[in-house]
């Protein structure tokens, strides 16, 4: 298992869990959850500073102390133009060319505006960014994102923060089958560790979580639970599960059973 790594752009990782940093009960619990998850990448954001507070600096200091790589997002952006400017600010502030690209098209579902997403992905890729696009499970959009320069895709399982688990297993399986060599990360919509195990069993390369951990009753324990589920699901995928059957098949050998009628 120790050699089972995943490479995202030029970085090879042992952990297949990427963890969001928002909505934890406290900064201390966030730091503890990151450690408990064993993750090597956390997502971060940029926001206007409210009033005279300097909360941003304290948060950034905490993340640097934990010592994990950051993946800045463009959360909340509604146009390609906003997302591009946010990505450029993030590259300077966080000193990384990685960007989790979100262009939101609809408020109730937080569904990506896939047209703006592809436009922004192309512009940012051309500008040297390594783009992690938050997208739907649409196969054609995935093709367009790869054409635009993305080398990783992050389809949703369900709307952000919904905790519903996999809404369309067929579409996620189709994506996996269609792009066998592209790192695919399920981003958004998972609620329970079993959801993460399921997508890993499908052959997904990694999982990005936030709300499922941060809003759990015990975020630190849930971070650990997801880490175990992801490891189990990944091992299950690599071990090649048996093919389901419609009818029963005895697991104990028939030959030699007692009381069998001799012909």
């Amino acid at each position: 298992m120790h050699n089972d790594t995943v490479t995202l752009y030029d970085v090879t990782l042992s952990s297949r869990l990427l963890l969001g940093t928002a909505r934890y009960p406290s900064p201390a619990i966030l730091a503890e959850a990151i450690r408990a998850s064993g993750c090597e990448i956390v997502t971060v954001s940029l926001r206007r500073e409210a009033g005279g507070a300097r909360a941003g600096e304290a948060f950034w200091s905490l993340i640097r102390d934990v010592g994990v790589r950051v993946l800045p997002n463009t959360a909340g952006c509604r146009t390609a133009k906003e997302a591009i400017a946010t990505a450029q600010m993030a590259r300077e502030v966080f000193a990384t060319d990685w960007i989790k690209l979100e262009v939101i098209g609809e408020e109730d579902t937080l569904q990506p505006d896939v047209f703006g997403l592809v436009d922004a992905a192309r512009a940012l890729s051309d500008d040297g960014f390594k783009v992690f696009p938050y997208t739907t499970d649409d196969l054609v959009v995935a093709e367009k994102l790869l054409d635009a320069g993305c080398r990783v895709l992050m389809p949703w399982a369900a709307p952000i923060g919904s905790g519903r688990g996999v809404n369309n297993a067929f579409a996620l399986r189709a994506l996996r089958a269609h792009f066998p060599d592209t790192p695919l990360i399920v981003d958004a919509g998972l609620g329970a560790p079993s959801h993460a195990a399921l997508v890993m069993e499908m052959g997904y390369d990694a999982v990005l979580l936030n709300t499922a951990v941060s809003r759990a009753g015990d975020p630190v324990l849930m971070a650990r639970a997801f880490a175990l589920a992801i490891e189990a699901g990944r091992a299950g995928f690599r071990a090649q599960p048996m093919t389901p059957r419609d009818m029963a098949e005895p697991s104990t050998p028939i030959i030699g059973r007692p009381f069998d009628r001799l012909a």
């Binding site: 940029l46 926001r47 206007r48 500073e49 948060f59 959360a75 591009i84 300077e92």
Partner: protein, 54 residues
Amino acid sequence: MSATTLQMLLDELGYDEKTVGTALNQEFVRARDRAETPLREGDAVEIVTPRQGG
């Protein structure tokens, strides 16, 4: 506000330039260009800092 450049505005507001990102009218402004970026009436200035995100 009496600032006439983006850098002067940041100084006036007391920001540490190393941990903020800036944009003017939805266009990114690099840290090294702030001192030469004039501000005009009606400009939309964005000043952002690291924050929790999903």
